[in-house]
Amino acid sequence: MISAMFGRTGARLAVAAALSLYLGISGAHAEESKVTIDNFTFSPAELKVKVGDTVTWSNHDDIPHTVVSAGKFRSKAMDTDGTFSFTFTTAGEYKYFCSLHPHMTGTIKVE
């Protein structure tokens, strides 16, 4: 049982190593950033990240929201406590909005 558990962990480590090798070209320190949705507002509304970083949006409202950046990424409807993650592999400015409540807008700046 214990060896089986070690086995699984080992496999997971191998995958993680391969992933970081793959992402390693642009820097081995890919970071996780968060954007929260409270009261129909993305916070922070503007976020700066590095190429390779992953941004996770989480919805704290009692109403579903989406995150859409035309031609770049599009989440499903996130219900309460739902999340959506996207890894930015190209530098640029990504403007996004909630396709259900389009007055909700935000920007991710990837450097």
Binding site: T41, A77, P102
Partner: protein
């Protein structure tokens, strides 16, 4: 219970038949109590839409129901299906059966098949024809097909259409798709073109009822409560003697009369939302349990031949 009598809006121009007061606003809010003091002639002790209707002489009556949000179970109303059922039960016992019902969208909360099925199971108990338009909550499934499969037959585009009943021309519009960042509700060029054609050649004396989910007029842009190209739709309706615009989406009663056009939004059967600007966001408003049913409800619309305006009566689930 509140009644808006649209026959008493100032001097009438004998040539146009319109009120000389070009813009008359009578915004009404749920929960403020103002409505109840101006509600003439509808005895609240009798309670229901039906008592008002029974007092009316002949005329066609239809019902508006909106924002059922079946599947919603958050603190603002843990049982949205239950309050929908209460609304339908009240419709079932109306002494004068309405001709049909319109549903102005957000039937479901998350566009799940089970939510649409539950809504249908309850709403069908009213035994009335129901004409639907979608809300943004009805288009959340991956393939956006559950709404269209159920309610889209015989409609165009994302689900717009028109029909006639008792000499009134009804137009159901869709303003919840292809929304633009930073913008409001959206009808789109294709639908507007269809609307123009639909109205072309129609007698200007035909009473028109337009219904859509998001208000077609700008209620509060900061919360997205309006329709980007709604003014273009209203342009096509100019010249018609009687136009009534019925919407949902904002979960509260609000009314405006502008020239020949009466705008009106219905309550939700699921949960109330705050009056514009009175809360940090338009999210579901949690009220005391014993107050909830005073802020949910349906609307009954009565059309009498020869009268300028359609009489709209909003009825909460509880007084």
């Amino acid at each position: 219970m509140s009644a808006h009598d649209h026959d008493n809006h100032g001097p009438i121009d004998p040539e146009t038949g319109l009120s000389r007061r070009k813009v008359l606003e009578c915004m009404t809010w749920t929960g403020t109590g103002i409505l109840w003091t101006v509600s003439g002639g509808v005895p609240r002790s009798l309670g229901l839409v039906g008592s008002a209707m029974a007092a009316e002489p002949a005329g066609m009556t239809f019902l508006q129901i909106s924002d059922s949000h079946v599947g919603f179970d958050k603190p603002a109303n843990p049982n949205a299906l239950g309050t929908l059922e209460e609304a339908i039960n009240r419709i079932k016992i109306m002494p004068v059966k309405p001709s049909f019902m319109i549903h102005t969208g957000d039937i479901s909360h998350l566009s799940k098949a089970s939510e649409f099925d539950d809504a249908e199971r309850i709403i069908s108990q009213a035994k009335l024809d129901v004409h639907y338009v979608p809300g943004e909550h009805d288009f959340l499934d991956e393939e956006i097909k559950f709404y269209k499969d159920r309610y889209g037959k015989g409609t165009r585009g994302a689900g717009y259409y028109s029909f006639d009943a008792d000499g009134v021309h009804f137009i159901g519009l869709v303003n919840v798709v292809d929304l633009k960042a930073g913008g409001l509700g959206n009808l789109g060029a294709e639908q507007l073109e269809w609307l123009e054609q639909d109205l072309k050649g129609r007698s200007k004396s035909t009473p028109i009822v337009v219904f859509a989910h998001i208000p077609l007029w700008t209620v509060y842009p900061e919360w997205g409560w309006g329709t980007e190209d709604g003014a273009r739709a209203l342009e096509y309706l100019k010249g018609f003697g009687s136009v009534t615009v019925l919407n949902g989406h904002i979960h509260q009663v609000m009314q405006k009369v502008e020239g020949n056009v009466t705008f009106h939004t219905a309550r939700s059967t699921a949960f109330p939302q705050p009056a514009p600007g009175t809360a940090p966001s338009p999210g579901p408003m949690k009220v005391a349990d014993d107050k909830l049913r005073t802020m949910l409800g349906t609307a009954s619309i009565n059309f009498k031949r020869g009268s300028e305006r359609l009489a709209i009566i909003d009825t909460p689930l509880a007084g």
